[in-house]
């Protein structure tokens, strides 16, 4: 449905220095999937989204949405889009902003007020509807941004840092919204720093760094480590915590009854756990220190290595 083919973007600064924002980015987003985009600050995520909306043109390569040039697609169909920074004229009132966007998005006049009312309720903005945009808190502004993106149920949804500024309740609510938006003929692209969020919501996650696609992680398939992978774990014992260093010599105590175990294969972990149980320990929890996506992310962007 959306195809990036060797897309690159270079631009010049005011002083003539050439900056590489994106290079040879190729990936295909399929209808029906939630696709995540992860990367450190300045990795090229926002540039990629600007290219997808046609706000920037690629220096080389092509982008197609349903076979069309992005700008042509957007101007004829529209895209549900939440930008990283919610930029709405500060003097507009929340409800007024939604009415304006609903008109431009093509919500029919007969159902416009009802639709605006619906997204206001959905995003919990009822008590803030008459406030000017400049009077809204960060979280409410983010919800207003999300509300305007959801006025029309487009086939392409692009959410750039959607939970930025949201409290835990609304972060959870956002996940429910995304789940509700999943549809066979729709693609949802979420760019986020929050790997946990991407792991919960996305089917695949592209990790980009320094403007290059490092890898695409199939989150559904990579939910458990492979047998040979070395993964750091954390273990908590209700009884027999003092036995851990004897079984796992490189274990580090990180809290009351908790130890961190350096990279272990599944075989090594299971053998160690069996030894602990045999000595009478009572294991309360064992879990990987990093989620699988986080593990992949750390490898892809070289966390811990000297970054240039």
């Amino acid at each position: 449905m959306i195809a990036f083919d060797q897309v690159g973007k270079r631009y010049r600064t005011l002083w003539g220095r050439e900056v590489l924002a994106l290079e040879d980015f190729s990936v295909e987003l399929r209808a029906g999937e939630v696709f995540g985009l992860a990367g450190p600050n300045g990795a090229g995520k926002s540039t990629l989204i600007s290219l997808l909306l046609g706000y920037l043109g690629p220096s080389h390569g092509t982008i197609r949405i349903d076979g069309q040039d992005p700008r042509r697609y957007v101007e004829s169909h529209g895209i549900s889009y939440l930008s990283e920074l919610v930029s709405i004229p500060p003097a507009w009132r929340a409800e007024e902003a939604l009415k304006r966007y609903a008109l431009l998005a093509g919500v029919p006049a007969s159902s416009r007020d009802a639709r605006v009312e619906q997204v206001i309720e959905w995003m919990g903005l009822s008590e803030h509807r008459a406030k000017r945009v400049k009077q809204l808190s960060k979280g409410n502004l983010q919800r207003l941004g999300l509300a305007q993106a959801l006025l029309v149920e487009e086939r392409v949804i692009v959410l750039d840092e959607p939970t930025h500024g949201l409290d835990p309740v609304w972060t959870q609510r956002f996940r429910e919204v995304v789940t509700a938006l999943r549809r066979e003929d729709r693609v949802i692209l979420i760019a986020s720093h929050n790997l946990d969020e991407l792991e919960r919501l996305a089917d695949r996650v592209a990790i980009i760094d320094h403007g290059r696609l490092q890898r695409v992680v199939d989150v559904r398939r990579a939910s458990a480590p492979d047998r040979g992978d070395r993964t750091p774990y954390r273990i908590a014992l209700s009884r027999g915590a003092e036995l851990v260093p004897a079984v796992f010599p490189r274990a580090r105590m990180v809290g009351q009854g908790e130890h961190e175990l350096d990279g272990l294969t599944l075989d090594e972990l299971n053998a160690g756990l069996a030894a602990l149980l045999a000595r009478g320990a009572l294991i309360a929890m064992v879990y990987p220190v990093h989620s699988m996506l986080e593990q992949q992310f750390r490898e892809a962007v070289g966390v811990g290595e000297k970054r240039t």
Binding site: V74, E75, S87, Y101, L104, A149
Partner: protein, 270 residues
């Protein structure tokens, strides 16, 4: 479909104009008008002051002499202030019309909707033009009620044309550059200076001046509609049509060039 949607949005654009740009235009116009007119009115002889016999002989009565003086005063005042008001009105109406949305990022939500920027801003230009004409009509009516009736079709026509000339340039600059209002001031000053200095030069380089707007002749257009006899008779004969055509053409070409820029230039600033 897109045309109808954007068309319906014109009411919001008109509201924005009147609230954010029309209001300051009215305030500045009233302030400038009051500061300009009050000292002049103080110096004017009153209707019941003694009138020179030769004037009485010429006009027939004291009230006719007073009316002639007021007509002359009005012509001078309107001619003087009109140029400033139209320039400032165009500046207020077009300042940041595209550039602000680009700089502040407001374009991001607007144009994720099925809307073409050229259609949206092209319409904003026309709506602001209409808004400015409403403002000038209101100001003209107030001036007419308090000082001297000035509202005529030729006056409004000249205002409309001169607005298009300035606003067209400003629109193009806003579509193409970040610092649009400063650029408009620079272009206006440069055009007036260069035309005045080299306009009568016979050299081939002087031909390049035709790339610049003929702002040095703006006063001719205002003088034609501010002149008392023209107001009195309402005749259009004194209006410099070719000059107005030049102004209108220049503004329209700049407006179309602005639309072309919007059609092809990407909105994000990197």
């Amino acid at each position: 479909m897109s045309r109808a949607r954007v068309g319906a949005y014109a009411l919001w654009q008109l509201r924005d104009y009147l609230k954010d740009r029309g209001r300051p235009t009215i305030i500045v116009a009233l302030l400038a008008g009051y500061l300009g007119i009050e000292p002049l009115l103080q110096q004017m002889p009153r209707a019941n002051d003694r009138v020179a016999p030769e004037l009485l002989l010429r006009f027939g009565s004291a009230s006719a002499v007073h009316a002639a003086r007021m007509a002359e005063f009005n012509a001078l005042f309107v001619r003087g202030i009109l140029g400033a008001l139209v320039f400032l009105g165009a500046l207020f109406a077009m300042n940041g019309i595209v550039a602000n949305d680009r700089k502040q990022g407001f374009f991001r939500f607007l144009f994720a909707k099925p809307v073409a920027p050229s259609r949206y801003y092209g319409q904003a230009f026309l709506v602001h033009w209409l808004g400015f004409m409403l403002v000038m009509t209101l100001l003209g009516a107030v001036y007419g009620a308090l000082v001297w009736p000035v509202l005529t079709v030729p006056l409004l026509l000249v205002i409309a044309v001169m607005f298009v000339a300035y606003a067209g340039i400003a629109f193009l600059l806003s579509a193409a550059a970040r610092w649009d209002w400063m650029s408009l001031v620079a272009v206006s000053v440069a055009a007036t200076y260069l035309w005045t200095k080299f306009g009568s030069s016979p050299g081939p380089l002087a031909k390049l001046l035709y790339l610049l707007p003929p702002l040095h002749r703006a006063d001719e257009a205002y003088a034609a509609v501010a002149a008392a006899p023209t107001l009195a008779t309402g005749r259009l004969g004194a209006i410099p049509w070719p000059l107005l055509g030049w102004f209108a053409g220049y503004g329209v070409v700049c407006y179309l060039a602005g639309l072309l820029v919007l059609r092809h230039r990407r909105l994000a600033i990197v």
